[in-house]
């Protein structure tokens, strides 16, 4: 299976190379990107986003696992690639192997365009130099049917909701209607692991890894188990929350913006979007940041920086939102004529980002091929504690050991918000 995939990727690499221009045309910019990969999306990137770029830009999509391979081959061979667009977690491993150029001269651009300070800090990838410019972002937010709003606990506001209020809210609806209307994407391809590692756990412990078996973590699991009594039991079948929201099985849900957007787009008047709840350690949320980086020894670094400047213009950020459903990273007024559903999401994303107690949590960094195993630890802990009723203390002790094995195997240092580590990250 892997071999055939590798062969396929090889074919893609070959076709990507053949689609790239000859290296001689240094006035052009070749833009290698792990986003907007499917044929149609890539075509839209070319015809709707990059068509007005100040420098002629050739857009080359690439599969994420192939990104370092492709860049390395290019650096040693044909030298065509100047600009790289990829997720934060995909760019981070490129720095230690020397494939990216520092972008310290772009710091002023970040300030000028009003990119939030926490995003700018992340873009330094833990070092002194700015290694990429944030380009666009997605994240996970909450959605609720307007039918549920009347049951909000007294004094609770959507923008400042806490996890205990969320539980109370769902309990209120259940008491009034007999239905369990809170829903999570805990199905086979749902993103429950992201909720646990990026939202719930860090909201209680301040981190993802180091405090995995802390007393705060045990409190979190006990609270969540209690909250689960009001969760729709079909949650273990839900992959995209937009579907149960639209069918009315679920009134309150958490999910990725792209997996909620059908509900907001189809019935913008029936749903509200709002930031994730807060726990004792703040309102943890997981921004999915896509950055723009310049390849080391790029054939056209100046051109690449012109394209970066162009893509960060507020109007291009709005165009990017329309074309890709990725949200702006710069300060931008949401235009009136934007799809109303998308507007709802854009406002919630901005609110979540700007909340006074907001704590961004990174997608796991540096785990490489162990990322899936790491995610599974969270869903296994959830299964054991919440669904199978095993003793919390024993489960977190056991899973914490497994987590250490995964971290050791990947030799992954801690990532934000866990404090930086010397060497491999250690579970306390």
């Amino acid at each position: 299976m892997r071999a055939s995939l590798a062969a396929l990727n090889g074919a893609l690499v070959l076709s990507a190379f053949s689609a790239a221009p000859l290296p001689a045309r240094a006035q052009e910019v070749t833009f290698l990107s792990t986003q907007m990969r499917p044929l149609e999306e890539a075509q839209r990137a070319r015809t709707q986003i990059l068509n007005g770029a100040p420098v002629k830009t050739t857009y080359v999509p690439e599969e994420p696992p192939q990104l370092p391979v492709h860049l390395q081959a290019d650096a040693q061979g044909s030298h065509t690639i100047s600009l790289v667009g990829a997720l934060h977690g995909e760019l981070a491993p490129l720095v230690p192997i020397g494939l990216l150029a520092p972008l310290d001269d772009q710091e002023t651009l970040l300030k000028q365009r009003g990119i939030p300070g926490n995003l700018a800090t992340l873009a330094h990838l833990g070092g002194e130099h700015l290694m990429y410019v944030p380009w666009m972002q997605a994240t996970y937010i909450m959605a609720a049917s307007k039918k549920a709003l009347q049951y909000l606990p007294e004094g609770a506001k959507l923008e400042t909701l806490t996890y205990s209020q969320l539980g109370e809210w769902a309990a209120n609806v259940q008491k009034a209607t007999g239905q369990r209307v809170l829903g999570f994407p805990a199905g086979p391809t749902g993103l429950m692991a992201r909720f646990l590692e990026g939202y719930l756990l860090p909201s209680y412990t301040g981190g993802t890894v180091v405090n995995y078996r802390s007393p705060e973590a045990e409190t979190m699991w006990a609270d969540f188990k209690a909250l689960w009594a009001h969760v729709n039991p079909n949650s273990t079948n839900y992959n995209f929350m937009q579907e149960p929201l639209l069918s009315g099985d679920v009134w309150i849900a958490w999910d990725h913006v792209a997996r909620l957007q059908d509900a907001f787009r189809k019935q913008p008047n029936d749903f509200v979007a709002f930031p994730a709840p807060a726990g004792p350690k703040g309102r943890s949320f997981m921004p999915v940041i896509v950055g723009l980086a310049v390849a080391k020894d790029a054939p056209n670094a100046a051109g690449a920086k012109q394209v970066i400047d162009y893509l960060l213009k507020p109007e291009m950020q709005v165009t990017t939102l329309r074309v890709t459903s990725f949200f702006p990273v710069v300060k931008v007024a949401i235009p009136e004529d934007l799809d109303p559903g998308m507007k709802l999401e854009a406002q919630a994303v901005a609110q979540q980002q700007a909340a006074p107690d907001a704590k961004p949590v990174l997608l796991p960094v540096g785990l490489g091929s162990h990322g899936g195993e790491f995610d599974r630890l969270f869903t296994d802990t959830f299964q054991r504690v919440v669904l199978r009723g095993q003793t919390i203390h024993e489960v977190v002790q056991r899973e914490a050991q497994d987590m250490q094995h995964v971290l050791d195997a990947a030799k992954a240092p801690c990532w934000s918000p866990d404090p930086p580590s010397q060497g491999t990250c250690q579970v306390k």
Partner: protein
Amino acid sequence: MVSQTAAAPSETPLREAGGGGVSRRTALRPYILIAPSLVFLLLLFFIPLVQTIALAFRTSAGTGFGNFGKVWNDLDFFDAVKDTFALVVVAVPVQLALALGMSMMLRHVRRGRDLILWIWSIPLGISDLAAGLVWLAILTDKGYLNTALFQLGVIPGPQSWLTYETPVVLFCAILTAELWRATAIVFVILVAGVQLVPKEFEEAASVFGATAWQRFRRVTLPLLRPSIQTALILRTVLAFETFAVVLAIGGTNFPVLISQAFIWQNQNQDYGTAAAYAVIVMVVSLAATAVYLVALRPRAGEPA
């Protein structure tokens, strides 16, 4: 074969004169004709099979049983084994009984036989996932079943059938979907077998006073044995691989071996452990096939 022996005498002078070229070509012909399918299977079946086995035994630390250790420690492994076997042990016999009944009934139909055959075979043409989604639409909280029950006044509101809180109903739902979807393949094989059973045998039996059940039990069933064997092997192997229906209806509430392979490959991006699951399914399927081959072999004195 027949044409070869018939052609042999006329070829003799040729062989004497020019050294055997034609007959060798004739002898090679079947192999040449078979070759494309062999090459096809070798490329698209045997090579991936070897690769999968290699992948299952390859870990970051070298070659060994590490991936099988991960399978053993997988939270859902024992549930997956239990669920997979439960499904096979219940579904396959029921499917065989249903298909036997259907093909026996069809023997006595004069008019509209083709239409019935056609309708009964419809599920064969439907993809696993589509079948799963059809049943999901029926059984989900606001699905057709609950709507009907609600309108009949049986239930006061949406009732969940497919959750971890209702494991028995969930199992029955998956079983029903599997019966609906996959009985047709057993049926089609048995219908073909039934058509080969000469009616004279049964007529002779009834002349000697055998009852309908005796005729079925003593005459038809033994003559159907080769078809039953084929159907059972095929159906059991496929039942061990049941996946899309289960995933659509059961989600993570009803793990089976193949859905675990899928989850380890797709969600966990751990190809080695996924391959280990695949190898386990292969070994189990081969064992089941061997059991059928031995258990249903012709006994002494019976026709093969």
